[in-house]
């Protein structure tokens, strides 16, 4: 009993400070300084919300860049990875289906990120190589020059952190939005 009352008082004071006070301060800061990011980085095009800059969405049309595979079918309410061992035959089968869709061959092997699912199943990026790999298909589907598509990719590709992570990556949704802009 002599420990219960101080425990309850400790509950009250930590709850007031660490839950209510802390949450309110972070909420106020984020909403005031970075409202776009604080609300999920939702991108609008032509006045309607088309997706989040940070969340992959499914693309199946040959006119668009395709994202990395998703173990949860790009479900924004139920993210997750495949959780398969890298030795699992199920990963081989999944990769074979994707390889067929991209018409990859031994002479023209597909970049690994396009057949490997991400941790959250919502990775918004593909590698620069993974984007360039799709340039010819998109150029043919849209009836534009492949060089034009490659120029667009190069303009959008960024390295995640300069010298610390030199590999360049491309945001699929932003790239596809830029493709649509090109058409207009």
């Amino acid at each position: 009993m002599q420990y219960l009352l101080p425990s309850l008082r400790l509950w009250l004071v930590t709850f007031l400070v660490c839950v209510i006070g802390y949450s309110a301060m972070v909420l106020g800061f984020a909403q005031a300084v970075v409202p776009f990011q604080a609300n999920g980085s939702i991108i609008e095009a032509d006045g309607r919300a088309v997706g989040s800059q940070l969340i992959a969405q499914d693309f199946t049309s040959p006119r668009y860049f395709w994202p990395r595979p998703s173990a949860v079918d790009y479900d924004g309410m139920g993210a997750g990875g495949s959780n398969k061992s890298p030795t699992s035959p199920e990963l081989t089968e999944r990769a074979q289906a994707i390889i067929a869709r991209h018409s990859a061959t031994g002479d023209n092997p597909i970049p690994a990120d396009l057949v490997a699912a991400s941790g959250g199943g919502l990775d918004p990026h593909i590698s620069l190589a993974g984007a360039l790999y799709q340039a010819d298909r998109i150029a043919a589907a849209r009836g534009i020059a492949a060089s034009e598509v490659r120029r667009l990719i190069e303009a959008q590709a960024v390295s995640a952190a300069g010298p610390f992570a030199p590999e360049r990556i491309v945001n699929v949704l932003e790239l596809n939005l830029a493709l649509d802009q090109l058409a207009q």
Binding site: V26, F59, N83, S118, I126, A160
Partner: protein
């Protein structure tokens, strides 16, 4: 590869440097240097009476019962309460039990996905609150232990210590980190999920919420429970390389600072440096192993027309850089954090062994406070063995270690493998475990072994292929977490209480110095022999068997 090594050295080395002033500050804080803050805290909980080890333990348990009871109630009734914009329904009681136990014990094992299970009130008012106070409980316990070893007459006051840890250590750092990751793009909103129409005309619903506040204390408090299901692989929980950097540094900084704090409170900073050195050596070995193993490509793709020059990408996020998978896996299991930056189930088999080894040893910096407490058990064991080898009465800092203390040390040390191996054996032999596997064969065994290791180490990461939201898993791991949390806190306090009751002898030239490299090597060997011999057979059945039979 060079960029990767450079990045690791900068991140880990930079954090080591930052941990020194933080440890100094924490030692001052727990030595009562901030009298005005202490006065305020004393008013809040009613007094600062000095406690012996029994009183301190009772206070700790009483508050933890309040923690568990409050959050159990909140989680069980969330569907009746406000702040539930996505209309989350009632959760099963076994899941509520497991989750309340998991967050009370600083484990944060999650048998659910946050975005589809809990309301914002449950996440903030229940789970995030526990992330603060369970971490503070661990730091408080370490402060008490250090006071006893350092020769002070009492262990301090638990209620005062928790407030010092929560308000003066965790809160300011959490505010800093939450602001930083909010700038990097982690959402912080009370709005429910966003509905969008994709470029191809489909509807996508995107979960969001008050994640920035939650993620910050998740990282700092060695909690590790994510706001979203896949933790820090989720782009909204970890949107960029820079948020990743901040999250990795904050994952390990306070556990490192705890070692310095311990050294200062017992007034033996050189002894702390030896312990820190042993922990850092273990960390370096694990990092080298994980980075090497994970650079092997995904075995499932080797026969296919796939460019495999980038290592294993399954379960990894491109924006976080190639190094994040192995680095995060090692850091999160060296400490008892348990957040993930890549999916551990999809790591190469031998890479997956490294985080398991981290949880088996469980003191490479370890959980907030409790990591250093675990290390104290090994230090006592090493001092005992060393004393026996030279034929002297074993001593640690002038405290004579005798039969009673050693029995308690062994009890606390044996409990860990007993819970892991016993639980694994039970679930590997029954449908409780076998019916829930996400992979077959040796990898399936690894999933069970990992789950019990994670629960017993109060880590909370998982081989997530396991379908673990079943009554059997929820109850078994819930009990393991509770035993594995409180036994290794209370028993060391009892050991120190027993040491405090004895007269301290002066250290002479014949006493083994705990401040030199000889003791460091001794400690290192004791840890390796104890850890390696206990767990090697289980490792051979899981990850090693998978590697030998399937990797070519």
């Amino acid at each position: 590869m060079l960029a990767s090594i450079l990045t690791i050295v900068l991140i880990v080395g930079g954090t080591v440097l930052l941990s020194w002033p933080l440890g100094k500050y924490m030692a001052a804080l727990f030595s009562g240097r901030f009298a005005r803050a202490d006065q305020l805290f004393a008013t809040a909980t009613g007094g600062t009476q000095e406690q012996n080890w029994k009183q301190y333990s009772f206070a700790l348990i009483a508050f933890n019962v309040v923690m568990f009871g409050f959050v159990f109630t909140l989680l069980a009734t969330q569907h009746l309460l406000p702040l539930n914009p996505d209309s989350q329904g009632a959760a099963s009681l076994d899941l509520v039990f497991n989750t309340a136990a998991s967050f009370t014990t600083n484990t944060n094992l999650q048998h659910y996905s946050g975005e589809s299970t809990w309301s914002y009130l449950a996440q903030l008012g229940g789970l995030m609150w526990l992330q603060f106070v369970s971490a503070a409980t661990g730091i408080a316990a370490l402060a008490a232990l250090a006071r006893g070893i350092g020769g002070q007459a009492s262990m301090g006051n638990f209620f005062l210590d928790v407030q010092r840890a929560a308000f003066c250590v965790l809160l300011p750092l959490a505010l800093l980190l939450a602001s930083a990751i909010a700038l990097a793009g982690v959402p912080m909103t009370l709005e429910g999920a966003a509905s969008v129409t994709t470029l191809e005309g489909a509807t996508q619903t995107i979960a969001r919420g008050p994640a920035a506040a939650f993620v910050a204390i998740k990282q700092l408090g060695t909690n590790g429970g994510g706001f979203f299901g896949p933790n820090s692989t989720h782009p909204l929980e970890n949107p960029s390389f820079w948020s990743n950097l901040a999250e990795m540094v904050s994952l390990i900084i306070i556990p490192m600072a705890c070692v310095w704090m311990f050294g200062r409170i017992i007034n033996r900073p050189k002894h702390a440096a030896v312990i820190f050195g042993v922990m850092a050596a273990l960390l370096a070995i694990k990092l080298a192993a994980a980075v090497t193993f994970e650079s092997a490509p995904t075995m499932a793709f080797t026969e296919l027309p796939v460019q495999q020059d980038v290592g294993n990408l399954e379960g990894k996020e491109l924006r976080l850089g190639a190094i994040t998978g192995p680095l995060w896996a090692v850091l999160t299991t060296a400490t008892s954090n348990g957040s993930v930056g890549a999916m551990h189930d999809s790591l190469n088999p031998l890479t997956g062994l490294v985080p398991m080894a981290g949880m088996w040893l469980n003191e490479t910096f370890g959980g907030l406070g409790v990591g250093m407490i675990n290390m104290f058990l090994y230090v006592a064991l090493a001092a005992f063995v060393a004393g026996m080898m030279v034929g002297r009465t074993p001593e640690y800092l002038g405290h004579r270690i005798e039969g009673r203390e050693m029995r308690l040390v062994v009890l606390a040390l044996i409990a860990h493998p007993l819970l892991i191996l016993g639980g694994t054996a039970l679930f590997a032999a029954t449908p409780w475990g076998l019916d829930t596997l996400g992979n077959t064969g040796a990898h399936g065994f690894s999933e069970i072994l990992y789950e019990f290791s994670s629960a017993a180490a109060n880590n909370g990461s998982g081989f997530e292929g396991l379908g673990d939201n079943t009554p059997a898993w929820n109850i078994a791991t819930g009990l393991v977490m509770l035993i594995a949390r409180f036994l290794p806190i209370i028993v060391p306090l009892a050991i120190v209480g027993s040491l405090m009751a004895k007269r301290r002898s002066a250290e002479s030239a014949g006493t083994l110095s705990v401040e030199g490299p000889t003791f460091g090597v001794m400690l290192f060997i004791v840890i390796l022999i104890f850890g390696a011999l206990t767990f090697f057979p289980a490792a051979a059945l899981g990850p090693i068997a998978e590697h030998v039979t399937l990797m070519r």
